[in-house]
Amino acid sequence: MSLSVNIRKTLGDFTLDIVFETKGGVLGFLGASGTGKSMTLRCIAGIETPDEGSIVLDGVTLFDSEKHINLPPQQRHVGYLFQNFALFPNMTVQQNILCGLYREKDKDKKKKDTEDIIRMLHLQGFENYYPAQLSGGQQQRAAVARILVNRPALLLLDEPFSALDSFLREQMQAQLVDILHSFDKDVILVTHSRDEAYQLCRNLALIDGGHILRMAGTKEIFSDPGSRQGAILTGCKNIVDAQKTGEFEVEVPAWGVRITTAQAVRDDLKAIGIRAHYFNPKALANHYPIFIVEEIEEPFAWVITFAYETQKKNSPPIWWRLPKDRKTEVLPKELGVAPQNILLLYE
């Protein structure tokens, strides 16, 4: 099971240039909207045609501009879950699922497969409902059923939770984790949500401006996003220009402080990132006097914005997020941050 993609496509002044190979399991495409994530999926599925390059799935060439191969979507065996689920509104749940079994000629098998998938996705009792009569979560399950029954060699999920409200989203994420575990083929999940990416994906590709910035294990990406864009995509709130001053030390001119790092700093360092929840009054390293700018209450945490006493006036305040039970009556006058929590950002 492997997918190898190497494609280029120009659309106006936007250029898609994507090269990657899957390593099994769920691969997440994390990027802002309009950066080419969905376009890449569409090229793999055969809905869009790249200008040049090749797409090979399990040894079968789906697309190759040099050999003039461009299989129609019908022959690619790639399952595609659309953002709006794309259930056929004129067909019942059962008829929709039977569309996924169009090629199966054996009537008994058709019947059995349909029953099995309906049971697996908890759609019993809804067989004769039309999509408009289902809730968002049921619609998604019906769409997933229709795709799984088709036995695709690769599953593409395009922002699968964006059409669901937040309560349903968490439920469906949990369900999808189970389904994906039982699906032993490659899966690509497109998302702009770092939570989805973290929960569902073994590997992540950070996408920006039509190409892959970095591809690695999910945990690795989150603990060391490597670039400014990567830090933003993984939800880092505090990103600031910095220069190397020692092997384990950087200077942050805008904050007027020097920061000790755990990782060795390379010469081409451009910036550092510190996640909002990593500041700690008890941390001994990188301990500097601060003053509080603002306190913002969230449902389960406080966001305190602060500035270092040495911070330049035009530099935006720094975010510190602390759980409600850890907030003290009097806020600290100094804050530190552990060296291993400093993200070193290059490019």
Binding site: G46, Y80, F88
Partner: protein
């Protein structure tokens, strides 16, 4: 009362309706896919009959189909078939006049179709013809049906171009609309009024039937 005009009108409207139904749908489907410039030009050409006076259309048709004109003389010499002043001449007029109604409404329906439905069908392995007839057409049904009804009704009521290329020959080319005109012209108001009533009844039945059909179908798809 001679019922020939009723039979002839229905026959012309039904046949031209059938022709326009398919040509209009396919024109709409393919024009919607064309590049912008070509689309704009074709759109104007295909919609023109809607805004031209029927007499101008009749004039154009005679220029083409008349026995002394290119298409008409060719048919006369090769097949010995006259294309004007026969009952089926009315079909030519009705097709040209009602085509834009079918074409435009169908195109509007196709353009509002959610293309991801077709894409998901393709990735599931459904053939394109299946997607067209079993998904695209049913989903666009409302617009297509509306277009077909408009086209049929327009064909039934066609007068201007028909009177020019089919004329009014009682028992041969007479339609309801030409008959009404002829009866009024010859001061036979009572009979003219009877034909007006016949026309009203047919139109009402067609519209009512479509409304009922439409309601029954959509109820099942929408939220209870």
């Amino acid at each position: 009362m001679d019922w020939y005009p009723l039979f002839n009108s229905l026959r012309i409207a039904a046949i031209s309706g059938l022709i326009v139904f398919f040509t209009g749908i396919f024109a709409a489907y393919y024009v919607a896919k064309l590049p912008r410039l070509l689309k704009g030009v074709l759109d104007v050409v295909l919609t023109l009959p809607l805004v031209l006076p029927p007499t101008v259309i009749g004039f154009f048709l005679i220029l083409m189909l008349g026995p002394n004109h290119p298409v008409g003389s060719w048919f006369l010499s090769v097949f010995n078939i006259r294309l004007v002043m026969t009952w089926y001449s009315g079909i030519f007029a009705a097709v040209v006049v009602s085509f834009p109604l079918m074409y435009r409404t169908a195109r509007g329906a196709f353009e509002s179709f959610d293309e991801t439905l077709a894409f998901s069908g393709q990735t599931l392995g459904l053939p394109n013809t299946y997607i067209f007839w079993r998904i695209r057409m049913p989903v666009c049904r409302q617009g297509i049906l509306a277009g077909a009804v408009l086209a049929f009704a327009r064909a039934l009521g066609e007068y201007g171009a028909t009177s020019m290329i089919a004329g009014y020959i009682p028992g041969r080319t007479a339609t309801i609309s030409t008959t009404v005109y002829q009866l009024w012209r010859t001061d036979n108001e009572t009979l003219a009024f009877q034909w007006v009533l016949v026309n009203l009844v047919i139109s009402a039945i067609v519209l009512l039937a479509v409304n009922m059909l439409e309601k029954k179908k959509t109820e099942r798809w929408s939220i209870r």
